[in-house]
Amino acid sequence: MSKRRPYVRSMDGWWRKNPFFVEYMIHEGTALFVAAYAGVLLAGLFRLSQGEAAWNAWLAALTNPWYIAFHLAALLALSYHTYTWFKIMPRTMPPVVVGGERLPGWVITAGGLAVAAAACLGLLALVWGMAR
């Protein structure tokens, strides 16, 4: 009879066992803020469809300190989400070959972050221009 009895270790609490996994759970967790913020914007769109009074009531509600605190927290979470998104990007896409040389990962990451920053600034400028 075989004396083999392979032992399978438990996966309980696996994400706490390695700092890399803890960071992974944090950056995945920031996706909840992305979803929550999308919910806030959708609510605004819905209130807009209900007419001017509903829209103004929604705008007034946004000035609540709790809402402002949520927006600050969401800004931090979304910034970190953006950073980690582009950090992993070189690992998730096909190689980009320029002039026979494979583009290094940090160039793809830096390019993504630059585009994200430019898009944010562009949007801010647009809203600024409309608000004036």
Binding site: K3, R4, R5, P6, Y7, V8, R9, M11, W14, W15, K17, N18, F20, F21, Y24, E28, I88, P90, R91, T92, M93, P94, P95, V97, G100, R102
Partner: protein, 251 residues
């Protein structure tokens, strides 16, 4: 110089299936010099302290892929990890995570061997060729497309780094997918359609949640996370293209 001899504590996760219900820790005092690897420390234990300690090793130079262990919780080749980097603290050594422990530091890798077979890790020629037609020719660009993914030494560090494999051992996993990709992108190969069925399956690439740790721990810079994630795109294309070309794409 014997009074200058440094010793380090090595804590080993022991498991003997004949007498142990579950693994337990055992600490050894190991004399060491600055040029000693963790593997040499473990070999010292077997040679001088406890001959019953079991572990795999062969080349001692990071090419055979046999001596992978969890060293302080990090998957690493024990031959290229040095005791001096942990001294004076204790070093914890454990069998590679996410695999069943056969005995002490020896894991059961049968599941991986089956996966390796299932990806058909050989060139399936596009067409029959006779000897008279001569050898296959490849351009440097065609070689570049797969060369990195052919460097895998099957050390299984990437599986020990993959929580999704730990949670679902039927996932084909990083190394097997990297090797699968290596053949799929080889210009001489014509087996892509067969291998894509595995990529698209329940055991396939969509088990991956892009943790990316597999590529961090790979001692050969294969970047298996890249192979897995490129094939998510390939799989999605396979799925949608069947609407355009009913006879091609995924089955």
């Amino acid at each position: 110089m014997s009074d200058m001899q440094k010793t380090i504590e090595i804590e080993v996760l022991r498991y003997h299936p004949e007498k142990d219900k579950e693994p337990h820790r055992q600490v050894f005092e190991v004399p060491f010099t600055d040029d000693m690897s963790v593997l040499q420390g473990v070999q010292y234990i077997k040679d001088y302290l406890d001959g019953s300690l079991s572990f795999r090793w062969s080349c001692r130079m990071a090419i055979c892929g046999s001596c992978g262990m969890m060293i302080n919780g990090i998957p690493n080749l024990s031959c290229q990890t040095f005791l001096r980097d942990y001294y004076p603290a204790r070093v914890r050594v454990e069998a590679l995570a996410h695999f069943p422990i056969e005995r002490d530091l020896v894991i059961n890798m049968e599941g991986f061997i089956e996966k390796l077979e299932s990806i058909q890790p050989y060139i399936i020629p596009k067409e029959e060729r006779t000897l008279a037609q001569g050898e296959y020719l490849q351009t440097p660009e065609q070689l570049n497309a797969y060369e990195q993914f052919s460097s895998c030494i099957n050390c299984l560090l990437c599986y020990a780094a993959c929580p999704q494999f730990g949670l679902n051992s039927s996932f084909i996993g990083p190394a097997a997918t990297a090797l699968l990709h290596r053949y799929n992108v080889d210009s001489r190969d014509g087996g892509k359609a067969e291998r894509m069925e595995l990529i698209n399956s329940e055991e396939g690439v969509f088990n991956c949640t892009a943790v990316g740790y597999c590529s961090e721990v790979c001692p050969k810079h294969v970047d298996p996370a890249n192979a897995v994630n490129q094939n998510k795109t390939n799989s999605a294309a396979d799925y949608f293209l069947r609407f355009l070309a009913p006879k091609g794409g995924a089955k």
